[in-house]
Symmetry: C2
């Protein structure tokens, strides 16, 4: 047994997460029991979804109470194993939490075959849940060559991969983002067809209609942005919601969803999407993503913070000023 620093919930956030919602505490690292492994955490994945678990009554996922270590998907390496399925040095992904070491049931972890030519962090991004989400969202909407695809949070972890994959399918891709820097990146580095600021819904809607309307809309934001794109959809359009960031920081009545009349009149299809429902498609999708990354046709976009101390800030940045790509915290050589 040894001691380490862990990040615990100090209080339930009110609105956008604040640094004071989190507290650094010394915690014991227990020894691994039968069937368990001790994992050294290497990369923490920053996911907007976590915000929902931090609410007093979590609407999705396991609720977190003040004093609990903050949960979170992470990539680590097995230090000691007391289960035959994993051995020292294996790379694993699981809910390791915001801490340096984690003792976990071996069965709760996924072992990763790391391609030495790629940084291991890619397995939390383009070759992990966000990449799979992007690929399977496009499958679900049957986005085809010539379709106009609008992606909210297009510079985000899922969005940037979805935008690139939609381009590879021959779609016309319009990326939405609230920052000029991210929009520039989407246009000049990732080669999107157009970008638009989502913070002026009326202008957004008018522009989208002018450009011929929207066939596919991948949305993780919701709210006024959502309604603006909804009103620009073409008949038989497909909308998939895979997140609802605009609602994550509010505690009131959940925002309502668009206009019924619009859905009816244009015979739209609107679906909620969680990647975990589609596990049977993971192997083939991962194989394709891996080939695209290896060949350089899919650019890996990451935004890596250094050290456990930077974690609360990295998380809060998801709701504000995060640079393009998957936001991660690297714990290599962490002094904490």
């Amino acid at each position: 047994m040894s001691a380490q620093t862990a990040i615990v919930l100090a209080r339930h956030p009110q609105g956008v997460p604040h640094l004071d919602d989190f507290r650094f505490e010394q915690r014991n690292v227990p020894d691994a029991g039968d069937g368990e492994v001790l994992v050294e955490v290497r990369y923490l994945s920053m996911d907007p979804f976590l915000r929902l678990q931090l609410a007093p009554s979590a609407s999705m996922g396991r609720p977190v109470r003040p004093g609990d270590v903050i949960p979170g998907r992470a990539l680590g390496r097995v230090r000691t194993s007391r289960d035959p399925s994993l051995k020292t040095g294996d790379w694993v992904i699981g809910d390791l939490g915001w801490q340096r070491f984690s003792v976990m049931a071996a069965q709760s972890l996924s072992r990763i075959d790391v391609d030495d030519g790629l940084g291991p962090s890619v397995y939390l991004g383009a070759l992990g849940s966000p990449g799979l989400t992007a690929a399977l969202l496009l499958e679900a909407t049957q986005a085809a060559a010539g379709d106009t695809v609008v992606i909210s949070a297009a510079a985000g972890a899922v969005g940037n991969v979805a935008a690139q994959l939609a381009r590879l399918r021959g779609c016309r891709v319009i990326g939405l983002s609230g920052s000029q820097a991210r929009r520039d990146y989407l246009l000049s580095v990732l080669g999107l067809d157009a970008v638009h600021d989502h913070r002026d819904p009326a202008a957004l809607s008018a522009t989208l209609v002018e450009r011929g309307g929207v066939d596919v809309f991948l949305d993780s934001i919701g709210g006024a942005l959502h309604d603006a794109v909804l009103s620009s959809m073409n008949p038989l359009g497909r909308i998939v919601m895979y997140g609802f960031i605009s609602g994550y920081n509010s505690s009131g009545k959940p925002a309502s969803y668009g206009s019924m009349m619009e859905v009816l009149r244009k015979r739209l299809t609107v679906s909620g999407f969680l990647v975990g429902d589609h596990a049977s498609l993971f192997p083939s999708a991962l194989k394709q993503l891996h080939e695209l990354v290896r060949s350089g046709r899919l650019t890996v976009v990451e935004n890596i913070h250094q050290g456990l101390g930077a974690t609360p800030q990295a998380f809060a940045s998801l709701f504000d000023a995060a640079p393009p790509g998957k936001t991660l915290v690297c714990l290599d050589d962490d002094p904490l």
Copy 2:
């Protein structure tokens, strides 16, 4: 050329249609020109959808202005034909309008092979658009044996057929209706598994959850009823909206559609449905419906008003006290 009585729009309805919104007028019946036919109207189909066309700015369909003859789907018989595709005596369906005679382009009409064993009115109901809508809605949702299917306006033209077809598929069918008489009919005559008043959304939602939640929801009403059922959906549930009656009589901001979080959290699919998009499926669906009606497994439920004079009242009843089934107006032996 001869004269006849037609019903014209006196003024745009405010809220629920009122008898004074309509006016009876003498109109000339023109002679049929080349490619046209003169049709004697026999049955007028009363459709809630028409209400949208009567608004000052119609959100769907061809707008109707004061002084215009009220449009509307109807069944009639060709009296004189100046087109080789139709001959005297042929039964046809088209937008004949609220009048005794209509001169129409032959190409705008569908010829019907009337089964003499069935009343011709069935071709506006169970073997017409409503029946096709019901059958294809169930196809679209893939409602399967064991699924719990909730149908709003379950005693209506589409609803009663959908409820019967869902029972034949082995689904558990819960019908919603705002009148005790209609609910009794659904339970005792059509054999639904349960019925519920939709006018108490909180009680409705609680009851549906108690009964194990909802897998498929066919909705033509919208509004508070919709949200109540939405909150009772099971994961991966399917919702199809094929109408939005609660919004037809309002001129304000279109009602919003349920809760985004609910759609996301339960990975629901919500679609807008117009039967015309599915024309390629009509022949096989009609064949099946015809067999079911002939064999008595599908009960034809009709609610027939007599005479053109009864038409405004018949239409207004759709939004209030209509008895179960397809509402029609029969013009046979009409004195007008």
